[in-house]
Amino acid sequence: MSNSMVEKNDSANRPSSQTLLVCKGTGCIAGGSDNIYNALQREVESAGLRNVKVDFVGCHGFCQRGPIVDIEPEGYFYTEVQVEDVAEIVRSHLVEGRPVERLFYHDLVTNEPIPLYHNVPFYEKQHRIILRNCGHINPERIDDYLAAGGYQGIRKALLEMTPEQVIEEIRKSGIRGRGGAGASTAFKWEACRRSPGNEKYLICNADEGDPGAFMDRSILEADPHSLLEGMLVAGYAIGANQGYIYCRAEYPLAIHRLEIALEQMKEHGLLGDNILDSGFKFQINIKEGAGAFVCGEETALMMSIEGSRGMPRPRPPFPADSGLWGKPSNINNVKTLVSSCRIIEDGADSFASIGTEKSKGTAVFALTGKTRNSGLIEVPMGMPLADIIFDIGGGIIGGKRFKAVQTGGPSGGCLPANMLDLPVDYESLAQAGSIMGSGGMVVTDEDTCMVDLAKFFIAFTQDESCGKCVPCRVGTKQMLTILERITEGKGQPGDIDLLEKLAQTIKATSLCALGGTAPNPVLTTIRYFREEYEEHINKNYCRAGVCGKLVKSPCQNACPAGIDVPRYIRLIGDGKFDEAVAVIREKVPFPTVLGYVCVHFCEAKCRRGQLEEAVAIKELKRFAAERDKGLWKQNSKILSPTGKKVAVVGSGPAGLTAAFYLAKLGHSVTVFEALPVAGGMMRVGIPRYRLPAEVLDKEIKEIEDFGVEIKLNTRIDSTDDLFAQGYNAIFIGIGAHRGTNMGIEGEDTPGIIDGADFLREVSLGNEVKIGDKVGVIGGGNVAIDASRTALRLGAKEVTILYRRTRAEMPASPEEIEEAIREGVNIVYLATPVTASRVNGRLNVESIRMQLGRVDQSGRRRPEPMEGSEFTEEYDTMIKAIGQESVTPDGFGVDVGRGGRIQVDDDTLAASREGIFAGGDVVTGPASVIEAIADGRQAAIAIDKYLGGEGDIDEVLAPVEEVPKYVAPEIEGEQYRPEVNTMPLEKRLSCFDLVELGFDEDKGIEETTRCLRCDLEER
């Protein structure tokens, strides 16, 4: 065959006026692209479109959005195409010239359609060198590869360079092995070249055993010739005449495409005894893996090719000296070989100009897990993790919080949010405790348990351990056993240290890198997520709600007070409202208040939310509470008087809950409240249109009925005084009521008031004049409450300024919705800079923000946009950016930032003996349910301090046989029923309750959407 076959061949392959390219990678085929391809051919033919061709290509890498159809030459990018869409694409786009917008990729924030491939953010920020041809050429046609400049590299090498010059070019490029270890490719080739003998082997490692990695699969399916050309280059350089591709058997399509490509190479004189008339001889054979992860290790891989058990052996001797059948051999990863081919073709300088000093070129990653965009990406070495995960990956699905990113597969490590700035290169990742690895990058969110993930990885490596050396065979088993115990609630103190010690030993003494790196996931999760391990061991608590033996149901697990949600939902469904409330009251004394205002952590974890939407747990709590007839009181006990006295300072949810349980335990409890009304933030923070006064009054009365005395209008400044009055213990629950300053010039300008103060004054019935035009600064519930309250006080125009975007607003989504419905304007990405009075009016100058880099909280940091200042006049400006506590010195306790009292994690004991604290004064502004949970915890600790058992568990609902449950088939989608609300026109003239709850039949129907996770086998 002549050289002309390899010359650039533009004319024969110039595209006809349009070509439809259907992706036939494994992912898109799974989505039905074979059928789409056939259907397109039929439609195009029957529409008589002579200038339109239908062809197929390999994997674009964006498998999540497949099946993909490109239209060239323009580059229209159709996603998630179904066979049913084919007729429309042909008719509307090709015949009528109207593209089918709904099939385009849509911007994740604005939802704008993005028609062209190179504008899609997923691709825009990539730098595709290795993946250059993937998705653009037909992998089963060598002519496509030739037209794209294929086989120019080997041509140059064979006809213009010596093997030594080839190696020199590779050395200049600085390329390091892309299989994961990162050894210098030039060094390895040189070593093999120098070995004596003329029987040498070049081996391509296409085993790709890392779960979560599919870079090599895609390259082989989309552009096999790039690899094969790379093998020729490498074979020439090291002086080998026989090449092997070791490809895992789980990639049948890749193997099929390789076989076709090899045949085509032979037909074109690119394989055989005299390649390109240069005298160079080379043959390539494919060997299929047989399902052993360890065979990705080079010495084990060679054993497998030889027909033996794939067990590694010590090195030295290195393969370059003694490899396959004892002959000098060189093993490289697919991406290393493809890169080498590009380096010879384009020159080393081009490659070396990308990346960092020690990590040259690009890296290919399989970005998967919880990102909104997932698939294969190629980026320059040194790109920060944040850019990859948030710019290309689009951030986390469902607006959940980023938790960790796992790089390097089972040999790598899990890196937390505060490492998101880390540049992706060999050294940085190694220093952080992970490795570059082959390219797997799995992103996890708040619903992933890090201990479970570590156990997952060790279970994998333990299973795949070849068994040859004791440290790996026995060591990983021991680590797995310990991790299993921990995730089942049987962890013991000392387990973490034991895991670390085992890990160090296994790393240091294992025969090969499987054992040598297997402990990395465990070590990094302990290093960065130690609290999760401690919670599992010391508190039998899995905060992600994953570990089956520790989590009865995700909802109950997420509730700070541990309310038995599935049980009360079931009782409501049975019409047993009394008993449902009794179940709730086993844990909290404010079922109705919570039913109105709880922030419902449970709903965020509700598994039904993974289908259509979470069960309306909060609303159902209210539904039951409003129908309660008081059955719970029958079993609610009070123990006999202990003779001890407890003082509770503050009548918010923390204080009242602590008081309630302490009174039930027999102590004499007095609650001191500085304001004229009881309830804390429930009374003076939450407006009446959200929580009516009567509702709160009723539940406080229930607490008083248990003997709790509440002294209003009584401010406490000194704990010494209380002790002097004979109190044996004190609980401080004074909350956080003082507004934080914005830190702007003109902070004290008249007209600026604090949000918490504003809400308190209104709730106390005091008149507050705010005028017509009101501005509110902040994005939490206080800001929303203040703005809706301002409307009800007659303001004509209320505008919220928030410095981030809606997605990041901490306020409850339903509150934000209602505020907008009622007419509150929200200006996002703006923040005040100065305030002053001009001509008797309050002037506030603000500046616009843009979202910049992701910071350590996993959110983008807003940055001011130069020159975007704007000024507005207001009658009143309400600042609602946070609250601090004011803890008097006379309390005698250690206080930290923001006036927060420092306490022991378990007992809530403050620094002075006999004093305990909980709620917002400890945590900063949080939620009612968290304060209630603190109240419970404090009651337990105080009772123990006073000599009691600290047992506040009780059975209020009748004990029952749980009826057998047969899960109904879920047909179609079922969403929540509407909550009745006060009509919009009526709302703003009063503070009457806005949300009116479910209709009776709708409420009961809603309970059927519960999936009964409590019945899951553990």
Partner: protein, 156 residues
């Protein structure tokens, strides 16, 4: 048995290097590696059957018992794990009444766990024979299984 295997054995030749490809081809034909086949291979290649078992049993791909007509593989790789792969496996195991590694009594289905198919962007993934099903949910798993269950059993 010998007649069936001879073409495969002769195509690869009497080399130790041929062992794993031969085992793969034979399993491809017979569905698993019966004792008789191992003996034939041992005889042809001049290696002992215990050596062949030593190699074959090392690799997860090889089966020594008759398999079901359809092999269901549920991916338990990292991305699939993080996206609920465990629940899919539990559902399938429950529907079929067997554990991973097992085969139904009527030899209709075998169930396996696989560490990774490389279709991570479609997690969680289930493969039945050669068909890849992505974005699985427990509901979809049941639907897919019942479709296969409703097929008439293939003849021996």
């Amino acid at each position: 048995m010998r007649d069936q295997l001879l073409p495969i054995l002769e195509a690869y030749g009497k080399k130790r290097e041929a062992l794993i490809p031969v085992l793969q081809k034979v399993q491809g034909e017979l569905g698993y590696l019966p004792e008789e086949a191992i003996s034939e291979i041992a005889h042809f290649l001049g290696i002992s059957t215990s050596q062949i078992y030593g190699v074959a049993s090392f690799y997860a791909q090889f089966r020594f018992e008759r398999q079901g007509e359809h092999t269901i593989k549920v991916c338990q790789g990292t991305a699939c794990h993080v996206r609920g792969g465990r629940r899919i496996m539990a559902t399938v195991a429950q529907e079929l009444g067997i554990q991973p590694g097992g085969t139904t009594e009527d030899y209709k289905f075998s169930l396996e766990r696989v560490a990774c198919f490389g279709s991570c962007a479609l997690a969680p993934v289930m493969v039945v024979d050669n068909t890849v099903y992505g974005r699985m949910t427990t509901v979809k798993a049941r639907q897919i299984l019942s479709r296969y269950m409703q097929e008439p059993q293939a003849n021996e």
